[in-house]
Amino acid sequence: MTKYRDDPDSIRSLVRGGDVHRDVYISPELFDLEMERLWHCAWIYVGHDSQVPAAGDYYTTEIARQPVVMTRAQDGEVHVLYNRCAHRGTKIASATSGNCGAVLRCPYHGWTYRLDGALRTVPLKGGYANSGLAESPAALGMTAVPGVAVHRGFVFARLSRDGPDFAEYFGDSLSSIDNMADRSPVGRLEVTGGTLRFMHNCNWKMFIENLNDTMHPMVAHESSAGTARDLWKDQPPDAAKPMVIEQFLPFVSNYDFFDKMGVKIYDNGHSYTGVNFSIHSKYSSMPDYEAQMEAAYGAERARAILGEIRHNTVYYPSLTVKGAIQTIRVARPIAVDRTLIESFTLRLVGAPDSLLERSVMYNRIINAPTSVVGHDDLHCYRAIQEGLATDGNEWVSVRRDYSRAEDERGVAGIYNGTSEVSVRGQFRAWLAAMTSGTQVR
């Protein structure tokens, strides 16, 4: 049954100001349409170019359920190709990462491709002498994904031929990536330390929406961060906090803290919390690193970089960034109720290892499948997925700090941190992509 595919009005009726219909989270048809429309036209995070440092290096992943491979060519250029042989369709690179030398070679019949996807050799080529191969789709080689953009090493791809320009799509939200890279004394980042891969049995939007939801930590994380707080409470106020206590405690800050943190909303679904300060603001200082930053950038600029302490930035719909702690999380939707979340740590090139140790600890205690924080988040997402099966109420409320004026003027701007405006901003972008007539199937 297709209820939504050919009926943009029925999709429009799912998002009404401060309410969203449950089908956006539970309808398999809408999930398929999201992959074909939203995830097809948006700029999706693929990987970081430090994951393919040398010529011949490759890294495999998926965009909208389609396998892609990111390669580094001999000239240093990064390419993103559909990971499929032009001959019979075999997925070519099957390891997560590696080095393939000068060519990608199909494991089935040995067709080879240059690192930009161009067809290089076909075994026993005489068999194709008068076959019309040169005019057939196979002659085009491994298809390159139409849009590829690299910003400070972050590689994004757009599957659609037409669509928003990269700079226009992300706008000034790229300042969060810039700030993370600027935190390296040489302005460079390097993905390192392995990928935490956490399977979520929930819709991808629940994860993305949660990143700038500041009304849940004091509730959902009372058992983990609240426990850490209780274990620490008899210590004198000036006792040096172990890193783990320093990282847990701010999660159970009060509503006022999260409200004053502020949230900034951009067009196209992007946003970040922590406009004024964040849960990372009170980490102990690292004098050696700060001196390094001053030497590299000058005192004033170094202060400005390190003083920008954002919480989460959402690069809708696929990437979330924590610049102040150098971790990123990537959402890979698999089914309407299944999403893979991959978390990475980034080394600030040139900075002391103590910063990487801090990122690694944060990533482990917050983002791992073994995380006591993650367990309660996922429990709530799953509980939503199950709760939405009820017929008692078909609507989900995202109305906190909503007013009708927002429908006219749009959502871009700075708001109090506990507002649900970031979710509404995401649904504006969602609706635009899901109903515009230009998408390619």
Partner: protein, 161 residues
Amino acid sequence: MPAIASDGELIEFVYAEARLIDEKRLEEWYDFFAEDGCYWVPLRRGQQSGRTENSLMFEDKLLLKVRIARLRSPHAYSQAQPSWCQHILQAPAIEDRGSTTGVAVMRTAFLYVESQQDHQEIYAGVAWHHLKRVGERLMIGLKKVELLNCEAALPSLQLFP
């Protein structure tokens, strides 16, 4: 220096340690760890560091204490329906009796089953126990758990493999 304990004592220690987890006698389990003890579940095969590389767990006693206290908390929502686990251990092999280092090393292949309501996950792996004498007691300096599928996309893993 003689071996730090008899073979029987070393082997019984490994069995007893797993049993405490399975029976959720977690405060007693916590006391099996030396003050500088560490419980490590690496993310990757051959992983060298828990500090500069990501791990599933890399817990000092403070983190273990948070984990255990959380499991006792009425606000641990992911445990509203409690998880239970079962270790099935192969006979522990004594790799080193600690006669020169003071640290005995045990290698134990295992199956670990974690179950919650209608869901059950089965993990396989090898546990390495580094044991030392603290006063009269044998204690854990390091328990390193190498899961066979450590690099897989995992669901919530909520107890202690």
